[in-house]
């Protein structure tokens, strides 16, 4: 009996690793290996010309971040972007989901329409918006028509980042809306009925039943939002043709990492150090959010 049991165990282990082998291969070669390699790179100066060479520089790459004006600009732009986009897209997503969940007709149609931006690639969306943001473009014409000031959206350093913010709030909110919609279906009707008995109106029901019930989902949406916004790249890259301009106003941390890694020579190790700095910032922001929302739920 024991003999057959171990035989079965061996067979099961064999098939398990057979099933896992493609995943393990990629995991080791393209994820875990690179993570270890990234640590190595962050402490070295990398030369890519001819045969790749590495020179150990200790903590120099990390120290350099503090002296790098462009790194500071990139970090500031990124933080500004995160601080504005995450709350806006979360609130918009919640409002849209609550509206869609009110049991109106045509819900399916609206849902499909709203979801379009999330389906469309960032490259296409950025190009469409650049076309609309044109000095002589649709957005300025509309603003003019309703008597609002027009902007040089693409060329003015003071507004270029705002242009990207507007576009991304618009394109990301529907994704989170779908997550909210799924969660809204789970709220028991009895909660609303109890609130109605207490004489709550629609707004009070939303504020005192829906919002608190959705707190865990909101926490998730905010964390995903933080991770996503900290990694802003495609839009900045296409908007500024890779430069982060005008005048560094759309330079983000990831765009800077890209530039140091692939566009200037001899700074790949520094770029790796910046990537670690970014990973740590994202980690801290995520933990901070978790802590804040946990403390809230104690009440």
């Amino acid at each position: 009996m024991k003999q057959t049991l171990t035989k079965k165990m061996w067979r099961e282990t064999g098939s398990a690793y057979l099933f896992l082998s493609p995943a393990l291969f990629v995991l080791l070669l393209f994820i875990i290996g690179p993570i270890v390699f990234a640590v190595f790179l962050a402490f070295h100066k990398v030369q890519l010309l001819g045969t790749t060479s590495f020179e150990f520089v200790g903590l120099d790459n990390f120290a350099r971040i503090a002296d790098d004006t462009r790194a500071k600009i990139a970090l500031w732009n990124t933080l500004k972007y995160v601080a504005i986009v995450v709350p806006c897209q979360t609130i918009l997503a919640l409002v849209l989901a609550a509206t869609l969940n009110a049991g109106l007709k045509g819900e399916k149609f609206f849902r499909i329409v709203y979801f379009l931006p999330t389906l469309t690639s960032s490259a296409v969306l950025t190009l469409i918006f650049m076309w609309m943001y044109n000095q002589n473009g649709l957005i300025n014409h509309v603003l003019e028509a309703v008597g609002l000031p027009t902007y040089n959206w693409l060329g003015d350093p003071d507004v270029a980042l705002n242009a990207i913010m507007i576009m991304n709030i618009w394109s990301t909110a529907p994704y989170f809306m779908v997550i909210y919609l799924a969660a809204l279906q789970d709220i028991p009707d009895s909660l609303y009925e109890a609130a109605e008995l207490d004489g709550a109106d629609a707004w009070q029901k939303f504020w005192h039943v829906t919002v608190p019930y959705l707190r865990p989902v909101t926490s998730f949406v905010v964390v995903m939002g933080l991770i996503g916004t900290f990694q802003l790249f495609d839009q900045s890259y296409i908007f500024s043709a890779g430069s982060g301009g005008p005048n560094n106003s759309t330079l983000t941390v990831v765009l800077l990492i890209y530039q140091y890694a692939f566009k200037t020579l001899g700074t790949m190790g520094y770029a790796a150090a910046l990537a670690f700095a970014l990973a740590i910032i994202i980690l801290i922001a995520t933990l901070l959010q978790r802590k804040l929302s946990k403390e809230e739920s104690l009440y």
């Binding site: 499909i112 931006p117 389906l119 469409i128 919609l181 990537a275 970014l278």
Partner: protein, 275 residues
């Protein structure tokens, strides 16, 4: 009382319709621009209906711009390969983690969970160097192999298989099927809804990806659409009619897929996100 409900509902409809318009305008504007002549475009008219409807922009990108069809093909090949491989490998890994008992199961699962949290920027530079060493820069395999599994969907498939009824597998085992047979003949066909959701996300992720091709591909012959489109913009800087036509061609396949698989899509999001 009744009137009050009416007003509330009307207000909700207004919100819905206004936001639908806000969502649709960029697409309609791009679509209409793609059918306009360059003259009309530079004249700065605000009409959504082209004065002089033309298909020349589409003809231009497909006929004159030789590389455009090639980019389309590259995108299709890469996204299709990545999708098929992901479906297969993620399911296999998820199944092993959910159903099979073997040493190393727990730590492996924890590693996969941990990998989910590493931002792509950390692995981006070493990945480039590894691909360079392998001679895989500027190649299909360089685009496909590193993305042929996805920790998120391994996790998702594991969750799916854990809740999967065991009886069918046991019956198949009694009928003399081995593990591989059980997996491919019984389990995988029944996992279709989970696979559909996964397929859409993986396909879209690959189809729309900008950063990976930007880093790995430098030969215009091998560009995928997002990259091609970006270089197109550089080349035809003020030919917005061509750029919009190309953007529409790029978006169409995703829209078709979405309309077909709409319900799996929503399911997939609440599966990977939500709870």
């Amino acid at each position: 009382m009744k009137r009050k409900i009416g007003i509330g509902k009307a207000l909700l409809y207004v919100v819905l319709v206004v936001y639908a318009i806000i969502t649709l305008i960029p697409f309609l504007w791009a679509l209409s621009s793609s059918f306009k002549t360059l003259e009309e475009i530079v004249s700065g008219t605000m009409s959504f209906v082209p004065k002089q409807f033309t298909l020349d922009n589409y003809k231009q990108i497909f006929v004159e711009q030789e590389l455009f069809p090639r980019w389309l093909l590259n995108s299709v090949i890469i996204a299709a390969a990545v999708t098929v491989l992901n479906l297969l490998f993620n399911s296999m890994a998820g199944y092993a983690l959910a159903r099979l008992q073997f040493p190393g199961r727990k730590p492996l699962f924890l590693i996969i969970l941990a990998v989910l949290m590493i931002p792509a920027q950390v692995t981006m530079i070493p990945n480039y160097l590894i691909l360079k060493q392998l001679g895989w820069l500027n190649s299909y395999q360089g685009m496909i192999v590193p993305t042929m599994i996805n920790a998120t969907f391994i996790f998702m498939m594991r969750q799916f298989f854990i809740n999967f009824p065991r009886e069918l597998e046991e019956a198949a085992e009694l009928d003399g099927l081995g593990r591989l047979g059980i997996f491919f003949r019984i389990v995988l066909p029944l996992a279709r809804p989970a696979l559909a959701a996964q397929a859409i996300f993986v396909f879209m992720g690959s189809w729309n990806d900008f950063m990976r091709p930007l880093i790995i591909l430098s030969d215009p012959q091998l560009f995928t659409l997002p990259l091609g489109l970006n270089s197109f913009k550089g080349q035809y800087i003020s030919y917005w009619n061509y750029i919009m036509a190309a953007s529409m061609v790029f978006t169409l396949p995703v829209l078709v897929i979405y309309t077909f698989f709409n319900r799996y899509f929503i399911k997939g999001i609440s599966f990977t996100g939500g709870k």
